[in-house]
Subunit: 158 residues, 2 copies
């Protein structure tokens, strides 16, 4: 992760792809979202979705996984280049999460992030807050998911 001062509003990144297999959709749903259209193809056919769909929280959790993988890859790249990677702090939360379209079994989503704002935090001089829009499209390039997240990022000057 770059330091707070080096992050520019408007910069974007492709976080990666995630394929939603029927098995993975069911495995998540059994633990966290046991609704028939997430667990059983036949029940899903009878539902308003028409076929098996992923839990919205599965779509969200897969995004988190790709964010961490992306951060780790960037940290490794910076280390190789002899640069110091900034630490990231907690996320205080996020806003405006939208499940725009269903995610069906065998869909592959591409997740992206874009920096939409940043600000210093008077009470925590060693950290800055970075606001990003996270989004995903499916293999037909249809937007299916988005939210605006905030994350504390270490300041070089801190």
């Amino acid at each position: 992760m770059k330091f707070f001062e080096d992050i520019e509003i408007g910069e974007s990144a492709t976080l990666g792809k995630h394929h939603f297999s029927a098995a993975d959709i069911k495995r998540f749903a059994v633990r966290f979202d046991p609704q028939p259209f997430h667990m059983d193809e036949e029940a899903a056919k009878q539902s308003h979705f028409g076929s098996l769909v992923a839990s919205g929280w599965h779509t969200a959790a897969a995004c988190m996984r790709l964010m961490i993988d992306h951060q780790n890859a960037e940290a490794a790249r910076m280390k190789t280049a002899g640069q110091t990677s900034a630490r990231t702090g907690v996320s205080p939360g996020f806003k405006n999460l939208k499940w725009i379209k269903p995610v069906y079994a065998n869909d592959t989503l591409i997740y992206r992030s874009e920096v939409i704002g940043k600000r210093e935090v008077a009470s925590r001089p060693e950290w800055g807050l970075v606001f990003s829009k996270f989004s995903a499209v499916n293999q037909k390039n249809e937007p299916v998911y988005e939210f605006e997240g905030a994350l504390f990022v270490e300041r070089r000057s801190g």
Copy 2:
């Protein structure tokens, strides 16, 4: 689930409790949020958290599970009482999710919901939108999590 017309703003429910074991925290993190302080006690001790903490998305997914269990229990209760249960549709998303405090290994959260608004939807006369605030406190009664969700609920008149 009650029909849209029968849901009153201000009504609240206890959805249930969820205990976050160290094993469950790690199992979620390995798949969806592989950060050291979610996966390893020693690494967590060195972090700003001081001990193992659950992924924020684990806290969120556990809430979804309790929501569904609660809905299913209510539907069963209504069936026993000879009442018809309303169908629920998709959630278009939510707002203002906050991870207020860390959830540590062996914390037990109590999740609640409160109806904060409802409105008819001109384009979908068979459904109404119900807005709820979901929240969780830990065993010390400290607020740790909240968000405002929306859900389509069947209208009796639809």
